[in-house]
């Protein structure tokens, strides 16, 4: 009897990993994202075959082979395809990142590092500047009238036109290296922070402000206990836009100043010398950098939201 009981199959609890995995799938984002990715890759392969058609035909014409396989093989094996296929690019990027000593000028990691450095300085400075401007605009009425139009106008000037001017002027003043690039990143990234924080610092409702008034709270108490915490949810989306713009700013600065290193410089060398894989590599490394940076900010956001009890 007891044997029969103990022999009955015990329903096994799914392991923690399994549960985490199914929870991940249940969130339902993976399948749509993967589907889009697959579609994009298929389209990309088709485009690669189509764009490289002329040269591929000439190549197989020489060998006398025929058929789609020979045709595709010819495309995949091109040294400098007009449009590389995904797997070719992946291979090339792997080599760019790991095939060289990272101090080498030919290593992608070296260039990414240089770009990260100017991006980071520019992002931090831009965020600080954006917050300071927002505080000024919210607290001083004349600043709102006098400053806000300039803040907006600043973003209507093409950064591509402005960047060389920055570099020349700063060079005259003896400021070189990372600083001109960081400054351009700052110039682009302060804007979303200012706009969001002006809105965020103004978001407390009348009741909450009246409440602080009944406590006879000082201006700085109202700021730190009410305005700043109210603005925090507005800050993170702005930081995500800001970091992406900082990367763009740093790369544009590198391109337009003929810098020696950085993703922008790498991109420029690639296009000078017709190094297709380098151009595409720079593009994908830059977007990977942006994705990682935004993910890090999203992580920080989640930690902050959790410490605030999930109040977004």
């Amino acid at each position: 009897m007891t044997d029969a009981v103990s022999a009955a199959p015990v329903p096994r609890r799914p392991s923690a990993v399994r549960r985490a995995w199914s929870a991940y799938w249940a969130r339902g984002r993976t399948i749509p994202v993967l589907t889009v990715l697959v579609v994009l890759i298929v389209l990309w392969y088709a485009a690669a075959l189509w764009v490289n058609a002329d040269r591929a035909e000439r190549l197989i014409g020489q060998t006398g082979e025929e058929g789609i396989v020979a045709y595709a093989t010819a495309v995949w094996n091109m040294e400098r395809p007009a449009l590389p296929a995904p797997h070719q690019l992946a291979e090339a990027m792997w080599d760019q990142a790991t095939g060289q000593a990272i101090t080498s000028n030919r290593s992608a990691v070296h260039h990414i590092g240089v770009t990260i450095w100017s991006t980071l300085i520019g992002f931090l400075a831009g965020t600080a500047l954006g917050i300071v401007l927002a505080i000024g605009i919210v607290h001083v009425r004349t600043l709102e009238r006098s400053l806000m139009p300039w803040v907006i106008a600043s973003q209507t000037i093409p950064i591509l036109a402005l960047a060389p001017i920055f570099v020349v002027v700063l060079g005259q003043l003896g400021v070189t290296g990372v600083w001109p690039k960081a400054l351009i990143a700052t110039y682009l990234s302060f804007f979303p922070v200012t706009i969001a924080m002006v809105k965020g610092l103004r978001s407390p409702d009348i009741l909450q402000r009246d409440l602080m008034h009944t406590y006879s709270a000082s201006g700085s108490q109202v700021f730190w206990m009410l305005r700043w915490p109210s603005a925090v949810p507005f800050l993170f989306p702005a930081l995500k836009v800001g970091i992406a713009l900082s990367i763009v700013g740093a790369i544009v600065a590198e391109v337009s100043t003929a810098a020696q290193a950085g993703l922008g410089a790498w991109l420029l060398q690639g296009s000078y010398h017709g190094l297709v894989f380098r151009m595409w590599g720079a593009l994908f490394f830059a977007s990977a950098l942006a994705i990682v940076a935004i993910a890090l900010i999203a992580l920080l956001e989640r930690l902050v939201v959790r410490s605030r009890g999930g109040a977004a």
């Binding site: 009741l207 409440l211 009944t214 006879s216 206990m225 915490p229 925090v232 009890g309 109040a311």
Partner: protein
């Protein structure tokens, strides 16, 4: 245990008729794009220490404006207002009152106990004392055990109780309440009324309570001030001779019904539909 919560320095004030709030010829005119609006017109009012005074009237009669003027959230354009033997501003600076708004106005990023501690932080009360006073205030409104919850995890009634606890944590001698239970369902409202009355009974708190509910005003108050709309004027002051200790059953009592009737009559008088 919680008897000391409101104003320890007022021992033996029960029964005394010392005036804590006094308005003389108080007027307030708002300048609006559509022309001036007479919110308050020549209001005379005297509120004794330890009393529970309700301001009742239809919407737009200026009862909230009057309360806000007492709290120094509005400045009168005429007449005089005295709170705690000083100006309204002095009373606010001395943190003489706690104010409960129509909505809880909690800070969503702070948990319950930190919300209650907000005014104590502003006042610079030492950290240890903040904890003690906040817990005591939460106990008064029956929210022990909810310290670590966040506002979104509480019902509307509980949120409003947190906001009452927040006002009480200051241990103010005066509590100003602006339709604090207006947005709640009737059962919750009854329950909170009983809580509030109990709190008032145990302390020598002076309460000024804005409402547009006749039963609520009669149930809670020792004095009911009936106001008329546009311009806001005091129509009649009705003293309640109901005992200080009351339960919800008192609403069936003929005395209760009689006072309610008098309030209704006064309201009708002020309401001209022509």
């Amino acid at each position: 245990m919680t008897g000391s919560l409101a104003g320890g320095g007022f021992a033996g004030a029960h029964g005394a008729s010392e005036t804590v709030i006094e308005a003389e010829g108080l007027s307030l005119t708002f300048q609006t794009p559509d022309g001036p609006v007479n919110a308050l017109d020549n209001i005379d009012l005297r509120i004794a220490k330890g009393s529970f005074v309700s301001l009742i009237g239809p919407s737009g009669c200026g009862k909230t404006t009057l309360l806000r003027t007492i709290a120094d959230l509005e400045r009168p354009t005429g007449g005089r207002i005295t709170v705690n033997n000083g100006t309204a501003e002095e009373a606010r600076r001395a943190r003489a009152y706690g104010y409960v708004f129509q909505a809880p106005a909690l800070f969503p990023w702070r948990n319950v106990i930190r919300n209650v501690k907000t005014p104590l932080e502003v006042m610079g009360v030492p950290v240890r004392e903040r904890n003690v006073r906040a817990r005591k205030a939460l106990e008064v409104v029956g929210l022990e055990g909810f310290e670590r919850k966040f506002p979104w995890q509480l019902s509307g009634g509980m949120q409003q109780r947190v906001s009452i606890a927040r006002a009480m944590s200051l241990e103010p001698p005066i509590l100003l309440m602006d339709e604090p239970f207006g947005a709640l369902d009737e059962i919750t409202r009854d329950n909170l009324n009983v809580h509030l009355l109990d709190l008032w009974n145990r302390t020598d708190l002076t309460v000024v309570f804005v409402t547009h509910s006749i039963p609520e005003a009669v149930f809670l108050s020792s004095r009911i001030v009936v106001m008329s709309p546009r311009p806001g004027r005091v129509l009649r002051v009705i003293d309640s001779d109901l005992p200080r200790e009351r339960s919800l059953d008192i609403r069936e009592n003929p005395k209760f019904l009689d006072i309610a009737h008098r309030v209704r009559e006064a309201l009708r008088e002020g309401h001209s539909y022509d």
